[in-house]
Symmetry: C2
Subunit: 199 residues, 2 copies
DNA sequence: TCACATATATAGCGATCACTACATAAATGC
DNA sequence: GCATTTATGTAGTGATCGCTATATATGTGA
């Protein structure tokens, strides 16, 4: 049973590019949130009509899940970006906050973090579950990273950072400037050091 | 023309209590956000049928405006509550953060701040405008209060507090515990003192 | 008593929601 | 050629959205 798996490409081929469609969906969901983006608009913006849309993604929530997954494995993942440059735990945290201060303000009509704010006030249980899953995973990764250096204060320090990022994302979506977010990020970075080393 | 204005109570009287209806609307909008609460649900929960609803409030956004106004003049206004007890600027700020840490976690299914999060991701321009107006007024009041003691750093310090409160409200809506919000509030209180007196 | 003013209940408006039934088009394997 | 497989376009599903037209009920002032 070492049969070579022929991925048979039978049937009519897709008339649109999946990756490009998901990328456009990321921008729409990120800009306005899950509920405010309708399937009709997604269809016209992505150039996909309803039957093809549902054949490809299953549902609106299915596309949202793909969009969130695409988003959180991109440069928008501020924790991943900050970790990539190495350094101490506090250096990475400070860098993450500064990266967020650069990324979160409005760019091309999009502001804040899709994971933190993309399903806020949503009435859809699926969308909320998808976001809750990603938030929990992110928080766990961040807490474990902090615990590698500050094991007894990891929870409190993780709360400090996560709540701060929530505030930065929400404020950015309300129009906060890059300068305001930067000074906030710097203050939280100093607070992190202070809370980590004292008390 | 000093005619005594007789507020004539002519016509059929209301069959519901306006204040009680607004209070119920506050809870619904606060719990789920503006868009996720429909007029049909408001009607059944408030015991008001459509024509009476529109005669009394004009529109869904009209009721929302009344709800936000009622909310922000209640005990939910953490800045007002913190100011009421007096003290120095930094004492009031620290107290406000601690009050928010008590008020924002879920109580009776409601979490966070209606003003900060009630119209998040809303597709309705009216609701967004109402919230934007209240946010701007709150921020201005907070900044002016801080400026009375720290005039050169008022903007930066106001950003610190406002973005922190945004984070606390958003996190509370995601299920953050009172303990987590309290430790965050304490850390931000220390950060406020530090940023105000140094640098 | 009766006009007037206001609020009510019944019923339904057009628009939009996420989603689908159905027939057809376009590729492959034999 | 021809069956099979997959994707497509046309058209429309029932449900819900915020809101309203119309007639009736219930109060006041004269």
């Amino acid at each position: 049973m070492v049969a070579t798996k022929k991925l048979d490409q039978r049937g009519r081929p897709r008339s649109f590019d999946m990756e490009e469609a998901v990328h456009k969906a990321v921008r729409l969901f990120h800009r306005r949130g899950y509920d405010a983006v309708g399937v009709a608009e997604l269809g016209t913006e992505l150039g996909i009509k309803p039957p093809s849309f549902y054949a490809a993604f299953g549902s609106k929530a299915g596309l949202f899940e793909r969009a969130v997954e695409h988003y959180s494995t991109s440069d928008a993942n501020v924790f991943g970006r900050a970790q990539a440059s190495g350094g101490t735990v506090s250096e990475v945290i400070e860098r993450m906050l500064l990266v967020a201060a650069e990324v979160y303000p409005e760019h091309d009509g999009v502001a804040g973090c899709l994971v933190l704010d993309g399903a806020r006030n949503s009435a859809d249980p699926e969308a909320k579950a998808i976001i809750a899953s990603y938030k929990k995973a992110s928080r766990t990764a961040l807490r474990d990273f902090i615990a590698s250096r500050y094991p007894t204060k990891a929870e409190t320090l993780a709360d400090l950072v996560v709540i701060a990022l929530e505030g930065m994302s929400g404020s950015a979506r309300d129009g906060a400037s890059a300068a305001a977010l930067k000074s906030f990020a710097e203050a939280i970075g100093r607070a992190f050091l202070r809370e980590a080393k004292q008390g």
